[in-house]
Symmetry: C2
Subunit: 376 residues, 2 copies
């Protein structure tokens, strides 16, 4: 289930079996200077990316899985095999079944083959690392990048505690300023374009009080500068484990409209800090999507749960979502109800029953099949 | 039904009532240097753009309506009002109802309010006009722009006959080379970026035998150069009417995978020419989407229909679609069956019946409610 089924580089798409890993796919595409832009955690399959509507650091430029599906082969509950589309890059031919199956978490059918859009890797891509005095300064700077129409390929934020964690981990070759820091990918089709964009980015950052502006002048430095972003999650876990082997990690996944980010991020951190739990923050800040990594001892589970609920509630109040990219599963069924209300979920339930009347595909995931029954 | 409901420029989204025109919306956004990128024919409403999954010249860069919907308010057949999402730019919270309603042509519900993504207008945008000896040269040049990762904001092709029509119409201030011609929009956040991209584009065009490369050095010239693209459709109609007031126009809307375009476009033109019908061609060539404008007398209707069917059949053979952006309606129901087969249409029918069991919303549009009954 991990074969490449059809590939013609000049079509900028590829058809693969659903079990192929997104990293293996990108390794394969390397020679062609092409990429599948969805980059969730390591180990995910391309089919998993689609069924979960995954994204990652590239989504701010290339969109989530949803925006990159051309066609799907799906086995329905009754065994019918559906091929949703042929391979046009653009079509208005009938209902967009791609849009329905993408993100349905295996509840409407089992995806066995996917055709996805590919993107041309920027001929030149450099990383800039920009620490700020406060998260608010960093977030305001991002708002201005976006409003200025500067085309950045990734816009990530790590908070001061995360930067300390990365330093303590010793997993990168350099020591970083322990301040809220933006990691930017700046790409283009030639050196001139990239250089000019770097200068504009630097200027805006300075206007918002950046403490420094390091950028990679070659490929090796690019990899080195991005390394801190890459080790972020694991360095938090390792740091926790050093202190206590029982330590648990809770990852949040809220997203809010981008103008709300500065105040939202400040409030999220305060909420967790006030509860006395260690935490770090990584945000796909260009999409308004933030992950707090919260460390807690098993006996603090109820407290952690309460805090996370408050963080999600705040996101929903600001017209955001309980999950930017991780999905609902069983864990966020109640939060989904809080976010959307019961009416859209009733619509989802009708669609589910139309395609899976015997409820055999991931029943009670995303929403309860019986709206009156609470899960155990 | 054409009010602006909510607008916060820094969120890069806007909520409007469905009856607002896409042009009025863009006029409103002008002051903020923002744009709603979907640009179908004049007069369409934003709600219509969504329900039809429209696109236009900007889709190659910003995607079709589908990629630009944040949230919808939809009235279902039973009167229920659904708000599909809140306003996060990215979410994996439950089924993507936006993806289902977008492009469903009013068969699943009536869209009354939409929140759409806005894009920042490029600070600098210039138009280049590039005639080639053959359509194949032009199409090959486009393939190389795409593969080179050059970021163009629009990539349009007009064939030699269309260029002649534009000249004959007298509706633009200059006379154009009567050859297959690319119209390119090249944008960026500053002059340097745009200039550098123009140079790269010019170089690739020359490698593919471009006959000329005119580009606008200021705003006025930009508007002037784009004018020929703008009058294309109407100039064909007017040209036809001059000869015979009864003349009819048939517009095709096929799309094929982009590597297939050079041979496909050549074949399409040959098919129509061989039948002795006047025709011009405009293609959203960056998306593989082509419109032939075919002129015919009322008594040639059957012939025109047969030719169009052959053009669509060829697109489907090449894994393309019978409609890139115009939708199915009643007219393309049989073509949709040819394109996808009966299985995906059965799935659509199940979804339709789940949401509209009494079949009151646009019944028999997109597909027949009764699969065994042919329409009159």
């Amino acid at each position: 289930m991990d074969a490449i089924v059809h590939f013609k580089p000049t079509d900028l798409d590829i058809t693969v079996e659903a079990g192929l890993g997104w990293e293996a796919l990108n390794d394969y595409l390397e020679d062609y200077r092409l990429m599948f832009p969805v980059d969730p955690g390591p180990g995910a399959t391309v089919g998993g990316c689609v069924t979960n509507n995954s994204s990652g650091t590239n989504a701010t430029r290339y969109g989530a899985a949803f925006a990159n599906v051309v066609s799907l082969t799906v086995v329905l509950a009754d065994g019918t095999v559906v091929r949703t589309k042929k391979r046009p890059r653009k079509t208005s031919a009938g209902y967009n079944l791609n849009g329905l199956f993408t993100g349905s978490e295996g509840t409407l059918g089992i995806i066995t083959e996917v055709t996805v859009k590919l993107h041309v890797k920027p001929k030149v891509e450099r990383v800039a690392v920009v620490p700020f005095k406060t998260i608010k300064d960093a977030a305001n700077s991002v708002n201005e990048f976006l409003i200025s129409g500067i085309s950045l390929n990734a816009i990530e934020l790590l908070d001061d505690k995360m930067m300390k964690c990365v330093n303590d981990s010793g997993e990168t070759t350099r020591k970083w300023t322990q301040a809220p820091t933006l990691f930017l990918k700046i790409g283009g089709s030639n050196d001139e374009v990239v250089k000019s964009t770097i200068n504009q980015t630097k200027e805006i950052s300075a206007q918002h009080g950046s403490l420094d502006f390091q950028f990679a002048s070659n490929e090796d430095e690019t990899v080195e500068l991005w390394s801190a972003r890459k080790v972020a999650l694991w360095s938090t876990i390792n740091q926790g484990k050093l202190k206590n082997d029982d330590i648990q990690l809770w990852t949040t996944d809220t997203a809010v409209p981008i103008s709300q980010l500065p105040r939202y991020l400040v409030e999220v951190k305060k909420t967790i800090d006030d509860a006395g739990l260690e935490n770090t923050l990584v945000a796909h800040i260009g999409d308004g999507n933030a992950h707090s990594f919260i460390l807690y001892h098993p006996e603090e589970h109820a407290k952690a749960e309460r805090i996370v609920h408050n963080i999600v509630k705040k996101a929903i109040e600001l017209e955001g979502t309980c999950t930017g990219e991780h999905g609902i599963g069983y864990g966020k069924i109640d939060l989904l109800e809080e976010e959307l209300g019961l009416i859209p979920i009733d619509v989802m339930r009708k669609l589910k029953l139309a395609l899976d009347p015997h409820r055999i595909l991931n029943p009670d995931k995303v929403f309860r099949m019986d709206p009156n029954k609470k899960l155990e």
